[in-house]
């Protein structure tokens, strides 16, 4: 393959990539704003309920089980518990880069670049693993 060939391929790919990327950028921004809104609502509610409790972040206790696992956090948020809402907003935020990786899988599939579909799926699998079973210690 000559340099001219690879250059042309890169230009063609770039043009398609760009419209997808602009759409993706907007999607990510909306995702962040939505996450911030949920965190804000939960935060105001949390402060209204427990504003005068002395803070205690010096002693590490770790969060209770209902604020750790994805399904339990969703459950707490549905039950409109303020801390559950904040945690759910944070989950939405963590989901934004995961969504970008997911869209990249589709992008590479459209380009029929199977090697990169595979590599991107590997990254996606790692992200899903950390959120579902990577509890550690």
């Amino acid at each position: 393959m000559t340099d001219a060939d690879s250059g042309a391929a890169a230009v063609g790919g770039k043009a398609d990539d760009k419209s997808v990327e602009i759409f993706l950028g907007k999607l990510l921004r909306w995702g962040v704003l939505l996450a911030a809104l949920v965190v804000f609502v939960g935060g105001v509610w949390f402060l209204a309920e427990s504003y005068d409790v002395p803070e205690n972040y010096r002693n590490f206790r770790g969060e209770p089980a209902e604020l750790r696992a994805v399904s339990q956090i969703a459950h707490q948020a549905m039950a409109l518990r303020p801390l559950g809402l904040i945690q759910f907003g944070l989950l939405l935020l963590i989901a934004t880069p995961v969504a970008r990786v997911l869209f990249s899988v589709l992008g590479f599939a459209l380009e029929r670049d199977w090697m990169y579909v595979l590599l991107t799926l590997l990254v996606l699998a790692l992200l899903v693993y950390t959120l579902t079973s990577g509890s550690g210690v």
């Binding site: 760009k18 803070e55 904040i86 970008r100 992008g107 590599l119 992200l127 950390t130 210690v137």
Partner: protein, 286 residues
């Protein structure tokens, strides 16, 4: 830590202090291009006595917020190289998982000392801009196989470049991932080192690609921190909202800002925080 007895703050006061500090960190981070994450952990641990594990959890959340929030602006430029980003992301996510696991076993004093050393390097890197190395002109066997070469828009049309030293870049990215998982930072300084200096990727391509990678790496660590109970909603809330608001304001006033002076001031602040982190870590106070 010294203020332990002086600050019996209630939750509302504490939240407002953290939100204001995070706002300043987010604004400085976006103006200097260093990200707000590097100062969140020292701010929370040194000034407010927060346990370093909670501080790292909250910092990771803010790193994701700034990365995804800035993506729209970066993606419009059309500089980022998705293949380079995704290939290196394997190294950084695996590294982040290792770093996050390590954080569960290492003593908090050790984490504080490592944090201080990385902060010192960031302070140094922010004030000493490395010379932009010559863009790779010769094709590299591994880079060609992985189709990593790309092109980017310049004032005189599209310019293509060759990616070099893939294994070295991949290894450095693993280190960046470990540091991100262990310390809750974006590791932007190490990522730029790997892409600019080792892989000879043009500066504009490496910074935009790095922004995307920072979010994915932090998400991998954040998942583990969340499941381990290190992400406290009451603390992460003001940090995330504060850093995000600060970054938005920072991006608005950036065109008129004296970036060079700011970088030096910010560099000095970071260096001072770094020395304090190392000192408190050695004393076993963090």
């Amino acid at each position: 830590m010294r203020n332990r007895e002086l600050l019996p703050l209630n939750t509302l006061e504490f939240t407002l202090v953290v939100a204001l500090g995070s706002f300043a960190a987010g604004m400085l981070g976006s103006l200097t291009g260093l990200g707000g994450g590097v100062v969140i952990v020292p701010l929370l641990t040194l000034a407010l006595g927060v346990d370093i594990r909670y501080a790292i959890g909250a910092s990771l959340v803010s790193v994701i917020a700034t990365s995804s929030g800035a993506a729209a602006a970066y993606l419009r430029e059309g500089y980022s190289n998705m293949r380079v980003g995704m290939f290196l992301e394997i190294a950084t996510t695996v590294g982040a998982v290792c770093g996050a696991f390590l954080a569960g076993y290492l003593h908090t004093s050790i984490i504080a000392i490592v944090f201080g050393v990385v902060l010192l390097y960031s302070a140094y890197a922010s004030t000493h801009t490395l010379a932009d190395p010559p863009v790779g002109m010769v094709p590299d066997r591994i880079a060609t196989m992985l189709r990593l070469d790309g092109s980017y828009p310049t004032s005189d049309g599209l310019k293509s470049y060759h990616v070099r030293h893939v294994p070295l870049g991949f290894g450095l990215m693993y280190v960046a991932g470990v540091l991100s998982g262990l310390l809750g930072i974006g590791s932007g300084a190490v990522k730029v080192l790997a892409m600019d200096q080792a892989m000879k990727i043009p500066f504009k391509v490496s910074t935009t690609t790095s922004n995307f990678m920072i979010g994915v790496t932090a998400a991998a660590s954040a998942g583990i921190y969340l499941r381990r109970g290190y992400i406290d909603p009451g603390l992460a809330m003001p940090v995330m909202l504060g850093v995000l608001a600060g970054a938005l304001v920072g991006a608005k006033i950036l065109p008129g800002a004296k970036v060079r002076t700011l970088r030096i001031v910010f560099g000095v602040v970071i260096a001072a925080l770094a020395i304090e982190m190392i000192f408190q870590g050695v004393r076993g106070k963090l």
